[in-house]
């Protein structure tokens, strides 16, 4: 019995079926990230609300989705909710689970970013006659953004890998497709190596993008302006 099949390894490294799985992993990450950001922003604002009921709801949401495994959330959405007559396709269930889960983490990251902007900044905006909405948009968020970017980048790195969990509800992303091929061809080590290489490639690429973004926005204005002065 052959120990390591090089030609098999290389053929699956450039294989349309696997590459399609990689693409699925990418768009799953992008779409659930966008969903998570929008929902996370809303939950972060609710968490800071003056209305107690709204704050309690936001806290409950974060507590629930950070306190249970994504795996369990996905299985509940895909296989348990139909018992109540709520049915989702595999893609819908995967996106919903990932976005709901991601939102709970992002809400805390966004809230920390907003809290990092001193209250005096909002007060100054208010004194100029700006509405709360304008203050959030033009004064608070641009400053909070700098605080949010580094942990957000880590979150994206995590999300790229976490999409693999959706394979349990038969979402055909990279891991699922690797497993399907393994069951046909029995090249376990070769195929898992291919999958690992693609995950590494994606996270490495993201690291590169994240560093570029941090360079552009993450730096404090103070550092930037000192450079201008020279």
């Amino acid at each position: 019995m052959q120990i390591w099949n090089w030609s098999g390894f290389f053929s699956y490294l450039i294989n349309p079926y696997i590459l399609n799985g990689v693409l699925t992993t990418i768009w799953l990450t992008v779409v659930s990230l966008i969903g998570g950001l929008v929902l996370g922003f809303v939950v972060a604002l609710m968490r800071r609300s003056n209305l107690r009921l709204v704050t309690v709801f936001a806290k409950f949401y974060i507590w629930l989705f950070r306190g249970t495994p994504l795996l369990v959330q996905l299985i509940v959405i895909y296989t348990a909710l139909p018992q109540l007559g709520i049915r989702f396709s595999v893609i819908e269930a995967a996106l919903l689970g990932l976005a709901l889960n991601e939102a709970a983490y992002l809400a805390e990251i966004i809230r920390a970013g907003i809290d990092a902007v001193p209250d005096g900044q909002s007060r100054a905006g208010r004194a100029l006659g700006m509405t709360e909405r304008s203050i959030m948009r033009h004064i608070v968020m641009p400053q909070a953004f700098k605080v949010i970017i580094p942990p957000l980048g880590n979150s994206v790195n995590g999300l790229l890998k976490t999409t693999s969990v959706t394979s349990v509800i038969s979402m055909e992303e990279l891991l699922r497709r690797t497993q399907v091929l393994i069951q046909e061809k029995f090249m376990v080590l070769e195929l898992f190596a291919v999958a690992a290489i693609y995950y590494l490639l994606l996270t490495t690429l993201w690291d590169f993008v994240q560093r570029r973004i941090e360079k552009k926005f993450g730096q404090s204005t103070q550092k930037l302006s000192l450079e201008d002065q020279r």
Partner: protein, 242 residues
């Protein structure tokens, strides 16, 4: 212009303001002084509704501040405010700091807002600083920008909350000079400050607040001439004798 009538404010069980009443006429400069924690900053923050109050009434330009129906953003554009810690927006340039609310609140065009910003920067002596960021300016320069930013909204009155307290001594006069110029031009001003020299030179009236009560409210000459309440006397002896 500003009418404060029997205003009372509580922070929980603690009474910060006790039935405070005073008025500031159009074109008048009123200095508010008092020991720290006396409620003087709280009082002027009530004037533009940055702080709510529980009893009494404040009328600004005939509009009741405490009325829930009052359009607060609209009211605040008529009353400029300058803070102890400047509160310039660090992510915007000096020029953008002055343009933001003009565009966002008054809906001015970019060109008009920039022209206004340039004119005001010139007025506070900082015409060449427009493209810089706040962190590149000294405290005194930042406070002058903050004054220009408030003036850009064409306010009918200006509130100053200890505008020189966070400044190094050598920068205090450049800010006071700008404020003096403003007063000479007829701006209605309410100024919380311990700068008694400024009060003596510029103010029409001086108010002394202690423990949330207006203890003294009289013309500047009278205030400095003596015949003061013992509480005022004790406060002034502390800040003037060094």
């Amino acid at each position: 212009m500003i009418e404060i009538n029997q205003v009372t404010k509580w922070y929980g069980d603690y009474q910060v303001l006790k039935k405070c009443s005073t008025r500031v006429e159009k074109g008048e400069v009123v200095v508010v002084c008092g020991p720290s924690g006396s409620g003087k900053s709280t009082l002027i923050k009530c004037v533009n509704a940055l702080e709510p109050y529980q009893e009494g009434a404040i009328l600004v330009d005939g509009i009741e501040v405490g009325n829930p129906k009052t359009d607060l953003p609209d009211l605040r554009t008529r009353v400029g405010m300058v803070f102890q810690n400047f509160e310039l927006f660090p992510h915007l340039t000096i020029e953008q700091n002055i343009m933001l609310a003009q565009r966002d609140v008054l809906g001015r065009s970019s060109e008009l807002a920039r022209k206004k910003a340039k004119g005001l920067l010139d007025r506070v002596g900082l015409a060449d600083q427009a493209p810089k960021y706040p962190s590149q300016l000294s405290g005194g320069q930042q406070q002058r920008v903050a004054i220009a930013r408030a003036l850009a909204m064409d306010p009918k009155a200006m509130l100053f909350d200890e505008p020189t307290s966070a400044l190094d001594p050598e920068m205090i006069s450049e800010v006071l000079d700008v404020m003096t110029g403003l007063a000479r031009d007829g701006m209605t001003m309410m100024v919380v400050t311990h700068e008694m020299g400024f009060a003596r030179r510029v103010a029409n009236r001086v108010i002394f607040i202690d423990s949330g009560e207006i203890v003294e409210d009289c013309p500047t000459d009278e205030f400095f001439a003596g015949n003061r309440n013992p509480r005022t006397e004790s406060f002034l002896s502390k800040i003037l004798n060094h």
